[in-house]
């Protein structure tokens, strides 16, 4: 049974803020919620290497919310930027041009569009090279910064502006969400975790655990998105909670490839999650898309049956 070792009580969440307010991100942004919590463990001695995406708006001239540093790279190569920064810091410290106390953690920030597709080559390269860095993917399941287009992280059934519902495709997106966790895991990095900011202690614990590993530390953060998923901004934690409690967003980690689920929900029907969001409204009205909903449910069931088999066996 997985247990938290560092973060046992909510009042252990550090009070200090490391991502300050005043940014242009949407009210109720689930991605910012996750980053803020992550930064409470990461601290300020960080250089964020950003890929194009919603988080581009975090540091917009002349304002930055970070007490740490920031480098904006490109959509496809933030992990390569992290490589350059990490290597340069190491070289400069080794050559005595930078005191050890000036060292920084290197943290890539990328949305799902970057993470799942365009930056996959540079991420794969960075993991293979055992780069000592964090990768923080805020997954809002679409190209959000451009107004919610289909991304490889968009789940089956979701409506986006480029997976509209039609008579031919009444259920919206017709293909499954890419399993980036397993793609990462195939590289066998020391640490991978999924997190959801509605579960802040789980999130903080995972960042604290990751800190004990040298090498790639990869995080997939559920980033509920009121603007794109079409729900009221105040419901961001509720949506995240239902994503986890329906079993659609498993909370898990993989240490050197070995997976542990850090929370086993007593699964609620997926409808409870889907119904809350405008991007799935077409599954319920004007006619209920029974097959599509059943398909989503079946895949969740199959996932957790597999989990039960493999993790019980261990």
């Amino acid at each position: 049974m997985w247990q938290r070792e560092t973060f046992k009580k909510i009042k252990q969440i550090p009070r200090e803020e490391h991502v300050l307010p005043g940014t242009a991100l949407c009210a109720g942004c689930g991605g910012l919620e996750a980053l803020r919590l992550a930064a409470k463990v990461l601290g300020d001695e960080v250089v964020y290497v950003n890929a194009a995406g919603c988080f581009t708006m975090l540091a917009a001239y002349p304002f930055t919310p970070f007490k740490g540093s920031w480098l904006y790279t490109t959509m496809g190569s933030a992990p390569a930027g992290a490589q350059g920064v990490r290597d340069a810091l190491d070289v400069l410290i080794a050559k005595g041009r930078l005191p050890e106390r000036e060292n920084l953690k290197v943290v890539v920030l990328g949305g799902d569009g970057s993470t799942y597709d365009m930056a996959l080559s540079s991420t794969s390269g960075a993991i293979t090279r055992k780069l000592d860095f964090y990768y923080f993917c805020y997954d809002n399941e679409a190209y959000g910064n451009t107004g919610m287009q289909l991304s490889p992280a968009t789940p089956y059934g979701a409506r986006t502006t480029t997976s509209p519902c039609s008579l031919q495709h009444p259920s919206g997106a017709t293909r499954e969400k890419k399993d980036i966790f397993e793609i990462w895991r195939a590289h066998k990095p020391p640490y991978i975790a999924t997190v959801a900011p509605r579960y802040p202690l789980d999130l903080e614990e995972k960042f604290a655990r990751a800190a004990t590993f040298t090498g790639p530390k990869l995080f997939l953060a559920l980033s509920a998105c009121p603007t794109g998923w079409l729900y009221d901004p105040g419901e961001t934690p509720e949506v995240a909670k239902l994503a986890v409690e329906t079993g659609l967003w498993p909370l898990k980690e993989a240490i050197n490839g070995a997976v542990t689920h850090t929370y086993i929900p007593k699964p609620k029907p997926v409808e409870e999650y889907l119904k809350l969001q405008g991007r799935f409204r077409h599954l319920f009205e004007p006619v209920v898309q029974t097959e599509a909903i059943a398909h989503i449910q079946e895949r969740v069931n199959a996932y957790w049956e597999q989990v039960e088999k493999t993790e019980k066996a261990v």
């Binding site: 001239y61 480098l71 390569a80 290597d87 106390r101």
Partner: protein, 409 residues
């Protein structure tokens, strides 16, 4: 003969080694590969105190290079052709960060159709990226230009990255004598890299390359890059003087060859300029008053030096080893633009396209260039773009097409 025999690629690697770079992100591509192979070996053996990393693409390579320079390391990297274009997006980022690294490009023509031999459509695609560009004619110049490039790039008045270009095959795989500058001289020439605006560290956080949300800051920052690039003309002059004093070789932004009393001038760049000089000698021996102007620095554009060299001539021919489909030669346009306001501008400007995909530039073709240019000067009417393509080459091409299209059992 002084020096030692080495290829242009090895000379490039030596440039990085003598510049004592800290970091080399790499990715192989023909005809550049020998550079990174040499550097990998030297980093492994400890001959160089640099970290060498093979990246997953040129796009990643260029990002890592820029990010490392932005962190405060002296960075060298190299690519060619398709690789340069794959990295093109990042070139604009790196120059926008004002990260002064040196990138060697080994020119190779672009696909499709894919080929291996050089022309300059690759490096000129990066013309507007904010990288400065130095184009070398000899292996010696490759090495020396890399040292000069670091000094210019890292100057506070410039702080822009530099591309040093050499032609694939004609320099990259061609050996000729190269004199190695003394390491102590290089140290005197190249002060340590200590940029004021770069370097990530705990005690002085900063955000670099941040988004701007309107045209006002965007225009300002991009214009600063223009001013920085223009400053590089003066910084180049200083660097050239210092280099000459220490090493004894002098490089200016343009090189004039037998220009003094020339009526007609041929403008060229890169390795084929050697052939152009030979053709000038041949024509001179026949009593024709011709000369050659080699453009060495393409960015910043040395307009004054070009005007000075070309004013009052009867005719000027620009031999572009590149082709902008629907327009013609790229450098011809820039030459024409900078001569427009010249009171003593040449009576005729002629545009020739030659050496595409490494196609040979024969003495006969160059002779034709001089003849047509002289005639244009007499007529007072420019010509072109004229593709240098001989009857023999045309016959050969028809044969190839026949083979490609006609089935013979």
């Amino acid at each position: 003969m002084e020096g030692e025999m080495m290829t242009g690629n090895l000379a490039a690697a030596w440039g990085a080694r003598l510049a004592d770079v800290d970091y080399i992100p790499a990715f192989p591509i023909t005809p550049q590969t020998e550079i990174v192979e040499a550097l990998a070996k030297w980093c492994e053996s400890g001959a160089m105190a640099a970290r060498f990393v093979t990246m997953d693409s040129e796009h990643s390579m260029m990002t890592a290079a820029g990010a490392a320079a932005a962190t405060g390391a002296r960075v060298f990297t190299a690519t060619s052709s398709q690789g340069l274009l794959y990295a093109l997006e990042v070139l604009y980022s790196v120059s926008g960060w004002r990260a002064p690294l040196v990138l060697v490009n080994v020119s190779r023509a672009l696909a499709a159709p894919i080929t291996l031999e050089p022309d300059h459509n690759d490096v000129l695609a990066a013309r507007d990226s904010g990288f400065l560009q130095i184009h070398a004619e000899t292996c010696q110049e490759v090495l020396d230009s890399i040292l000069m490039a670091y000094r210019i790039a890292e100057d506070e008045r410039v702080m822009l990255p530099v591309i040093v270009n050499l032609d694939g095959f004609y320099l990259s795989f061609t050996r000729e004598p190269v004199i190695m500058p003394d390491l102590q001289m290089v140290k005197a020439f190249l002060p340590p890299f200590r940029p004021a605006h770069l370097g990530f560290k705990a005690s002085a956080p900063h955000a670099l390359g941040v988004a701007v949300l309107s045209g006002t800051p965007y225009s300002y920052f991009r214009h600063q890059m223009h001013l920085a690039a223009m400053n590089a003309l003066e910084v180049h002059r200083e660097a050239a003087a210092a280099f000459e004093q220490l090493v004894g070789r002098r490089y200016d932004v343009v090189e004039g060859y037998r220009l003094d009393d020339a009526d007609d001038v041929l403008v060229m760049t890169n390795a084929f300029a050697s052939k152009g000089k030979a053709a000038v000698d041949v024509a001179r021996a026949e009593g024709k008053r011709v000369g050659l102007l080699r453009l060495r620095v393409i960015r910043p554009w040395p307009a004054d030096a070009i005007r000075h060299a070309l004013q009052g001539r009867r005719a000027v021919a620009v031999l572009d080893q590149n082709l902008s489909p629907g327009q013609g030669g790229i450098l011809f346009q820039e030459i024409a633009a900078c001569l427009y306001h010249e009171a003593l501008r040449p009576r005729a400007l002629c545009s020739f396209i030659g050496g595409l995909g490494g196609k040979n530039l024969s003495e006969g073709e160059l002779r034709t260039v001089f003849e047509q240019t002289a005639e244009a000067g007499v007529q007072g009417k420019g010509i072109g773009p004229v593709l240098l393509y001989t009857e023999a080459e045309h016959r050969e091409m028809v044969q190839l097409q026949d083979l490609a299209t006609e089935h013979r059992a």
